[in-house]
Amino acid sequence: MSSSQPVSGDPPPDASPWHVSRRTFLVVTGVAAGGVAVGLAVVDAAAPDAGTVARVALAVNGEPVVVEVDSRTSLLDLLREHLELPGTKKGCDAGACGACTVHVDGRRVLSCLTLAVRLEGADVVTIEGLAPAGGALHPLQAAFIEQDALQCGYCTPGQIMSGVGCIQERHTGSAEEIREWMSGNLCRCGCYVKIVRAVEQAAGEV
């Protein structure tokens, strides 16, 4: 894991990672697997190979995009703050609630725990890209409406992206199996019964 702090005397960092390029950062790099800090180096973020800002080419909802991101930026923040795709929701931002679930290379993952800088060449699908623009809804989106499987709706994009994964993984053999394989998505309104019904309905149609 990396952490960065501006050297004192520099102006405070701008909230946008686009404005970091002329600042000098003190970067402490640790080996993630060992949890042990192995290197200490002062690097200039203006240099393209500094590691603080990286260029990443990926596909989001089928569209190729090239972004320059701070190495600490999560996929969730990339989607919401830089690509204007706010359908993916930030619930806990710590991997506990599932609201930020998206698909990366066909697998459901938590975008809040995915660093954007790791996604070179990746294929990302969000709730905005689940059904074609102007076309019919995905069967699970339609099922959520038909089963009235939401109240406030904040967890719903994550529930649907997770539910599509659950169906693709064929873990829809029973209501009990769906509950187990949807357990990574919390709903504070308590719509679980209807969410399970919606996944059951869509599993029969997909």
Binding site: S2, T29, G30, V31, A32, A33, G34, G35, V36, V38, G95, G98, T101, R107, R108, V109, L110, L113, T114, L115, V117, R118, S162, G165, C166, E169, H171, R179, E180, W181, M182, S183, G184, N185
Partner: protein, 280 residues
């Protein structure tokens, strides 16, 4: 540092019948592997009872073995914690310690090791393969996680610059019956209060070898050698499981709020011995 492009994701069986899990193999892929499910159900069970489907799609075997405690005082930077800030004290000892360890604790630390997979690997006598500036090493699983003692900030036998490259399960005599049981406050997506991994080799009506380990109760994945010793050489029978499980909590040192774990551990082990070994 991003190691995700290294070619360490393979799931392979060794010529002798052992299993080698690359450090970057995903939890979901290992759990779904038909050969793993056939040969070592205890590994597949432990993985599928861990975390959530999304996290299992992301998390790796090496990362799982390296994961850190869920002790709330370790995570709370305003609390005293010898693991996070050596010498600062342990807020858990006199705090809310319902989820904490009863085995392997010290005055300095009572944090529980959170991994389910590691409990299964402990029961199966796994080995950790590492690579670093000093070359390659193989560490027995029982030696890899370090008891807290007076240095709870030192958690694994991993040297600076070293990387886990694989976890290897040695070949076991067949037939091998195995499985994992996890007891928790809610049905899914929760860490263990107690858990038990059991692997039994029964031949000619006699238990020839036994691997038993527990989770949710130890500062490291907790091998239950006294339980194993009671099983080996005996015939599976209803009364045997309870008698063996009685030894599961030997040496336990409960705290103010986790005394229930002593009995819950015995009953978890007994139940899982019965599930894997059969009998009423």
């Amino acid at each position: 540092m991003d190691i995700s492009a290294l070619p360490l994701g393979e799931i392979t069986f060794t010529p002798e019948g052992g299993l080698r899990l690359g450090a970057l193999a995903r939890m979901a892929d290992v759990a779904a592997d038909p050969a793993v499910r056939e040969a070592y159900p205890v590994i597949a069970h432990a993985l599928e009872l861990s975390a959530s489907p999304q996290l299992r799609n992301m998390a790796t075997i090496g990362g799982n073995v390296m994961q850190r405690t869920r002790c709330s005082y370790f995570r709370d930077v305003s609390a005293a914690c010898n693991k996070r800030a050596p010498g600062s004290g342990c807020a858990a000892r006199e705090g809310y310690n319902r989820g904490h360890a009863i085995l392997g604790t010290s005055d300095a630390c009572v944090a529980t090791h959170p991994s389910d997979l590691a409990v299964a690997l402990a029961a199966l006598d796994a080995r950790i393969h590492t690579r670093g500036p000093g070359g390659e090493r193989t560490v027995p699983f029982a030696d890899f996680h370090l008891l807290p003692g007076t240095t709870p900030d030192r958690e694994q036998d991993l040297r600076p610059g070293e990387l886990i490259v694989a976890v290897e399960v040695p070949p076991h005599p067949r037939p091998l019956a195995s499985g994992y049981l996890k007891v928790r406050d809610r049905q899914s997506y929760e860490f263990a209060l107690t858990s038990a991994a059991v692997a039994l080799h029964v031949q000619g009506g006699v238990i020839r070898s036994a691997g038993v380990a527990a989770g949710g109760v130890g500062t490291v994945p907790w091998r239950l050698r006294a339980v194993e010793q009671h099983l080996v050489g005996r015939r599976p029978a209803g009364g045997l499981w309870a008698a063996a499980a009685e030894r599961a909590a030997e040496g336990a040192r409960p705290l103010a709020h986790n005394g229930f774990k002593v009995d819950l551990l015995r009953r978890t082990v007994e139940r899982q011995l019965r599930i894997v070994g059969g009998g009423s």
